[in-house]
């Protein structure tokens, strides 16, 4: 795959805390695709994505975002990137409009553009009537949607989401998924970690599986089925079966 088509290119990435968290990980995510990153707890998914987002410094390795060296030119990389964590980090005493105005300021979005995008995003996410109310009284789902609106207000080319659907009700989860799908249709690249394998199965163009800090499998659902030599009948070979087989094999090998 050529470098020009890569939204994210990670090579030989290492990060250790008390023990290795990411251990020589290599990964390529194509521009305009919906990529799901799966792995058991402690596999190194969040650590990897935090390094991509500039929230952690890797011990070794390279990260390139749309051809920009994210480790050497972090500011340029951040201009086209958005990060949403599983725990919505917003300011309780700000209203969604104030929060979005703040985020627009950080990303230097012109006021009129930011305002129209803010209205559009809040409308899409079902928060139009809550735009001028402080976030302190919001449910977790509403907070997560405000955080997502903040991540999208600067029209990022690469959107990274770490467990964005955790704790959301069915309605909120559907709204979030719809917005993400719309973004991909408009040309953005989405990388998402999730433990809800059905989401990855239904939404992702390609899936990567991480275990023990390494990428152990990558490809479309069909590719993964072929890799594990599973039965071609999808009813009998869900992503869950494939995932558990891949992770189980890795644990045995370890």
């Amino acid at each position: 795959m050529s470098e020009e088509l890569s939204a994210l290119s990670i090579s030989h990435l290492y990060k250790s805390f008390d023990q290795p968290a990411v251990d020589g990980l290599c990964l390529n995510v194509r521009a305009g695709e919906f990529f799901a990153l799966l792995g058991p707890n402690g596999a190194g998914k969040t650590t990897t994505l935090r390094m991509v987002s500039g929230l952690l410094r890797p011990d070794k390795g390279n990260i390139s975002i749309f051809g920009i060296d994210a480790l050497r030119n972090g500011i340029e990389a951040k201009k086209i990137l958005a990060w949403v964590s599983d725990e919505p980090m917003i300011y309780e005493k700000l209203t969604p409009f104030e929060y979005l105005e703040f985020v627009a300021g950080l990303w230097q979005i012109e006021a009129t553009v930011a305002q129209s995008r803010a209205c559009e995003l809040l409308e899409w996410l079902g928060l139009a009537s809550n735009g001028d109310q402080r976030c302190e009284s919001f449910s977790k789902g509403m907070r997560q949607k405000v955080a997502l609106a903040g991540a999208l207000i600067h029209n990022p080319k690469l959107i990274i989401l770490d467990e964005p659907l955790t704790g959301l009700d069915a309605g909120s989860a559907r709204q979030v998924k719809k917005v993400l799908k719309q973004r991909v249709n408009r040309g953005a690249t989405v990388i998402l970690t999730t433990h809800i394998l059905e989401v990855a199965e239904r939404m992702a163009d390609r899936i990567g599986v991480i275990a023990n800090g390494r990428l152990i499998a990558e490809g479309t659902l069909d590719d993964l089925q072929n890799l594990t030599g599973s039965n071609s009948d999808p009813a009998e070979n869900s992503l869950e079966d494939i995932f558990l087989q891949l992770v189980g094999d890795q644990e045995k090998a370890a």
Binding site: I90, F97, G105, D132, Q133, G150
Partner: protein, 509 residues
């Protein structure tokens, strides 16, 4: 073993939680500090007893007769304690109403919530008494030693005062709840607490300024004017003071008033405690509308956006607003003194200088912690396309501009009276504030904004460095204001404090 969900069971549960919380707060969660903490407390206790002995020994040498001057002095001290107790109790009661913690669990259980309320309110009374005891304990002990066991009654009097203060705090909070609603009560009650806490001291200081032209509270409490207007020695009004001095009838009356008031308040309000908690935690700014009002977005660069965000959050932080208001209230008497001396001798203005510089240093430290360490969306700010240096600079600017906005009116007023003193003060405010901010920068540690009250526990070194720096710069500026070269002698230890803080600080970025 107590019966589950009974009063003693709840009391044991609450005390266990309180004790662990207190130990964790004092030791910052490190168990090895417990022995050191016990040692420090013991030394502090001995020191306070020695100090109290030397303060009281001459006064008590010939025994204490309850004459008008003694009654006025003790009564004034009791009123001061009571205003502080009421302030403390109001803050605790507000927190008890708005805290979520384990209330979801308890409210959803079949346990009687009235019992929990009774235990929590009684505990607030106990904690309020303990706070006063911190200062009063050595003095009462020394009085018992010098003048006899009748002064043991002072402990009971403090308990009764704390009970009345707590009952009053519950009543005020519930009154606010029912009149202005749960959404505003939190903010207003903290403001009221701040005003109540400062009111007595400030009132006496203002009286001192008006009648005596100085700021000494002692001048008021020992003045012939006051002696001539207070009730006579035998008046019923003095019964709390007589209780303090161990007179049995007065003591029984005061104790009965304290216990009775608290018990009655609990009895009358406990049934609605659950409703108040539900109302407080269901506070919503959501209004029943289909469309929100769309504000006009401003074109902001990253630094402006960060500063604007900090200012909005500071403005909407009720505890911070009440603390700032309290600091400003304490500046009110010096401001009145300034006004009185406007056309008179400027020399007395010198006493304002250290007060302003000290207040600026302390306020800057608190604001800097909120802006630098208390960032609630660190991931958002870290993933924004701006350097960490630019982020920190914008936050520091937000703090410095806030400090300037608060203290500039005082300095401008000083400038009209004496240019030199104003110049020295503005320099002191700037240095003291910058030092506090720099200390917070060196010791920064990511935390939730809501943990502001516990910021001291995360780094004792930062707390002490900030306090010593503010005190020493206040002293330096005060001495410099009178034109003495001795200011250099005070500036040197202030610089040494900063150098030590720099040396031991974990962050060196």
């Amino acid at each position: 073993m107590n019966k589950p969900a009974s009063l003693p069971w709840f009391a044991r549960h609450e005390f266990g939680l309180f004790w662990r919380d207190w130990i964790s707060m004092m030791t910052a969660g490190r168990r090895q500090r417990e022995i050191r903490l016990a040692g420090i407390l013991a030394v502090a206790l001995i020191f306070m007893h020695v100090l109290a002995f030397f303060v009281l020994v001459a006064t008590v040498a010939n025994g204490i007769a309850l004459t008008i001057p003694v009654l006025v002095f003790l009564g004034g001290t009791m009123l001061l304690s009571f205003s502080l107790m009421l302030s403390q109790a109001m803050e605790s009661v507000t927190r008890a109403f708005y805290a979520r913690d384990d209330l979801d669990l308890i409210l959803s259980s079949p346990a009687m919530v009235q019992r929990l309320f009774a235990v929590r309110i009684t505990a607030i009374s106990g904690i309020t008494m303990s706070m006063s005891l911190l200062l009063a304990f050595p003095f009462i002990n020394v009085m018992i030693y010098l003048d006899g066991p009748k002064w043991l009654a002072a402990f009971a009097v403090l308990g009764a005062m704390a009970a009345i203060a707590t009952a009053l705090a519950v009543a005020i909070t519930i009154l606010l709840f029912t009149t202005i609603g749960p959404a505003r009560t939190r903010f207003i009650s903290q403001l009221v607490a701040a005003i109540v806490g400062a009111s007595f001291v400030i009132g006496i200081q203002i009286a001192a300024i008006v009648y005596f032209g100085n700021i000494s509270r002692l001048d008021v409490l020992t003045s012939d004017i006051l002696y001539s207007i207070v009730p006579g020695e035998d008046s019923w009004w003095w019964f709390p003071v007589r209780a303090l001095a161990g007179e049995p009838a007065s003591l029984i009356l005061l104790l009965a008033a304290g216990v009775g008031t608290l018990a009655l308040t609990i009895r009358l309000t406990a049934d609605n405690f659950g409703d108040f908690i539900v109302a407080a935690n269901g506070v919503s700014h959501n209004r029943d509308r289909s469309k929100a009002t769309q504000p006009r977005f401003r074109s902001l660069n990253a630094a402006q956006a960060l500063r604007m965000k900090e200012w909005i959050l500071l403005k909407r932080d009720p505890w911070l607003v009440s603390q700032t208001l309290m600091q400003l209230l304490y500046l009110l008497p010096p401001a009145i003194l300034l006004w009185r001396n406007f056309s008179g001798a400027a020399s007395s203005l010198v006493i304002l200088v250290p007060v302003i510089v000290m207040a600026a240093g302390q306020l800057a430290g608190g604001l800097a912690w909120l802006a630098i360490s208390g960032e609630d969306a660190p991931d958002l700010v870290s993933t924004a396309p701006l350097t960490p240096h630019a982020t920190i600079r914008a936050k520091i600017e937000a703090v410095m501009i806030t400090i300037a906005a608060i203290f500039l009116p005082f300095i401008m007023a000083l400038a009209f009276a004496d240019g030199w003193i104003a110049l020295v003060t503005i320099t002191g405010v700037a240095i003291s504030s910058i030092c506090s901010i720099v200390i917070q920068l060196w010791f920064r540690k990511q935390a939730r904004r809501s943990h502001f009250r516990r910021r001291q526990t995360s780094s004792r070194a930062a707390t002490f460095a900030e306090a010593f720096s503010s005190i020493l710069w206040a002293g330096t500026t005060g001495v410099a204001a009178v034109g003495s070269w001795l200011a250099i002698g005070l500036a040197i230890p202030a610089i040494i404090v900063m150098l030590i803080a720099r040396a031991i600080a974990p962050s060196r970025q």
